[in-house]
Amino acid sequence: MSQMNMVQAINDALRLEMQRDPRVVILGEDVGKVGGVFRVTAGLFDEFGDDRVIDTPLSEGGIIGAAVGMALYGMVPVPEIQFSDFIFPAYDQIVSELAKYRYRSGGEYPCNMVIRTPVGGGIRGGHYHSQHPESLFIHVAGLKVVCPSNPYDAKGLLLASIRDPDPVLFFEPKRIYRAAKGDVPEGDYTVPLSQAAISREGSDVTVLTYGAMLYECLDAAERVAEQGVQAEVIDLRTLWPVDIDTIVASVKKTGRLVVVHEAPKTGGFAGELISLVCEKAFYHLQAAPVRVTGFDTPFPYTLEMEYLPLSHRIVPALLGVMKG
């Protein structure tokens, strides 16, 4: 066990898996010599060399397209997209190719790969260094989507993702890259995909969230506890396929639901979660489910803290849903 932050934990997972599995390669912009603009791949170039930690030309489409080809060959590429805001030049390769390869080839060409990329706001990044685009991938059949909230999960989920036979989008909440610290075991372990964690137990209202917003939800939960409301906060960890059993069991217990995410509200993942709960536990709901999310605008700069669904906006939602 040692104290690590998210960056260190992810770095540790990458190093371990590259040592264990020679098929694993990393490629992306600035991932090599400089170790990534967030230093997540620091030291790996020195340890594994230019054939396995590869600085590429400036093209996300090239990175992902080439990685797909490597995966078809039988390698296990773990490409990095420098900011998730820059994933869109590669969107065609992800949506049309990566996601559909196993299916369209009747199983002949699976793609075992993980796309790592930082997400989220609160770092003064404006439109293009702050987005949280998960719902644009959750809608695409064939992809798995993961978003850890702490170093332990980050390492364990990344190891599980790399070993998972299907393509995984691994979204790293950059606002807590260094802020989230915790004990991380030294050797190998995995956190299984599609299992949520109950971060705080409670009986009155279920809060679904993930990534950096977990801490805001926990903070809000503490605050409303002072007013006698016990919120159960669930960290989804894997967004898709989501851990439906944990969600439904919690909502059946509490009868109330609040979903919190940074991404814009309209068409965001919260809508999917609410619809799922409606399908599976409608008659247990004692109040209208509530979304606390980013607004339906591009991500702002100066006013970003007003844009984000932080604790101060979650508290009234929790209190409101109790009145419902």
């Binding site: 390669v25 054939d51 396995r52 590869i54 590429t56 030309p57 093209s59 489409g61 090239g62 397209g65 080439a66 990685a67 797909v68 080809g69 490597m70 995966a71 078809l72 060959y73 039988g74 390698m75 590429p77 030049p89 065609d92 390769q93 049309s96 190719e97 390869y101 196993r102 299916y103 369209r104 080839s105 009747g106 199983g107 002949e108 060409y109 699976p110 059949a141 064939g142 798995k144 036979p165 299907d166 599609s194 396929p241 439906i244």
Partner: protein, 355 residues
């Protein structure tokens, strides 16, 4: 190299034995006949779609022939003749045309969108160009793993305008990946002629932008195609990196069964290309060599026809894939939501049959 009268210019001879030429010729003829028959099946409403290779057989089959068995080919969508040469079983191809239960792709894709890993053949996709970047990654992986392997990728003139061409060529140049970019310049991208596709003089010279050597070849000259492709594959194996080949040929038919070329090109534009027919040229060569004659031609055509008819008969009488297969292979294991959806579909009423 192969003159229009069927004689061979000696200086670039790829040294194909008559047996080799016969094998390729048979594949070219089979391809042409299947093309014609599939168009008929489509017109009869028995299959939904076909995209053919009329006039491009030398480019397609010659280039595939030039690659070793252990090498890999990434298809565009117009190269079923090459796939058959590489070992795609005819029945498998025809099953795909019908999207039936025997189709290894399980009737999930359109006709002509097949896969054949055992033939070292990729997976046909519709989005233009995506296979190029993947082929580069594949070749690159082989290089990283120090395998002696060349990878060839097919694409059309129109595809050079895609994002993918740029990414593939650029990565291939920088990382010197062992791959052969085989551009079928057939003059058209559906209704768009090459002048509308690029202002460069040739497609081959696009290699300069990427430090990748480019070569232009008469794509209707089987011998030239084999020779040039072999040289490019040798460069791959010798660690000299990628080559861009532009095979100058012509799409003698419509873009696909959905297209009517009369809407956008004059019939007499096609005429000179009829004279350059790549199959005719090889046949004349073989006749001159005393290795071919009318009887053999007739026997070949009959055999091809027979085999095709039987494959169609079997394919057409094979039922559609099982309903539950709809949910397989999205992921390796069936997740809860697909299990639920499968259950819902299987328990519910069946759809009306008609389109």
């Amino acid at each position: 190299m192969l003159r229009e009268d069927g004689t061979l210019a000696p200086e670039y001879d790829p040294q194909l034995s008559t047996d080799e030429v016969l094998r390729i010729y048979r594949q070219m003829v089979q391809t042409r006949i299947i093309d014609e028959r599939l168009v008929t099946l489509q017109r009869q409403g028995r299959i939904g779609f076909h995209i053919g290779s009329l006039g491009e057989e030398a480019a397609i089959i010659g280039s595939a022939y030039a690659m070793r068995e252990e090498d890999w080919l990434f298809p565009c969508y117009r190269e079923f003749g090459a796939a058959l040469l590489r070992g795609l079983p005819l029945q498998r191809y025809i099953d795909n045309m019908f999207g039936n239960a025997n189709d290894p792709v399980k009737g999930r894709q359109m006709p002509d969108h097949y896969t054949c890993r055992e033939a070292h053949w990729g997976s046909v996709s519709s989005p233009i160009g995506t296979q190029m970047t993947q082929a580069v990654g594949f070749a690159w992986a082989a290089k990283i793993e120090k395998k002696q392997l060349a990878t060839l990728v097919y694409f059309g003139d129109g595809s050079t305008s895609s994002n993918e061409f740029h990414n593939a060529m650029n990565f291939a140049g920088v990382f010197r990946t062992p791959c052969v970019f085989f551009c079928r310049n057939n003059g058209w991208a559906i209704s768009v002629p090459v002048e509308r596709q690029t202002a460069s003089q040739t497609f081959a010279e696009k290699g300069i932008a990427y430090g990748v050597p480019g070569v232009r070849v008469d794509g209707n000259d089987l011998f030239a195609v084999v020779g040039v492709t072999r040289r490019a594959a040798e460069r791959c194996l010798a660690g000299e990196g990628p080559t861009l080949i532009e095979a100058l040929t012509y799409r003698m038919g419509g873009h696909s069964t959905s297209d009517d070329p009369n809407r956008y090109r004059a019939a007499d534009e096609v005429k000179p290309w009829v004279e350059r027919d790549p199959i005719e040229r090889v046949r004349r060569y073989l006749e001159l060599a005393g290795a071919w004659d009318g009887d053999r031609e007739e026997a070949l055509r009959e055999a091809v026809d027979q085999e095709f008819r039987e494959a169609v008969k079997l394919a057409e009488s094979t039922p559609a894939p099982e309903l539950s297969t709809l949910f397989d292979d999205v992921y390796r294991d069936l997740p809860w939501h697909l299990a639920e959806q499968r259950q819902e579909l299987l328990a519910g009423p069946r759809a009306p049959k008609a389109h």
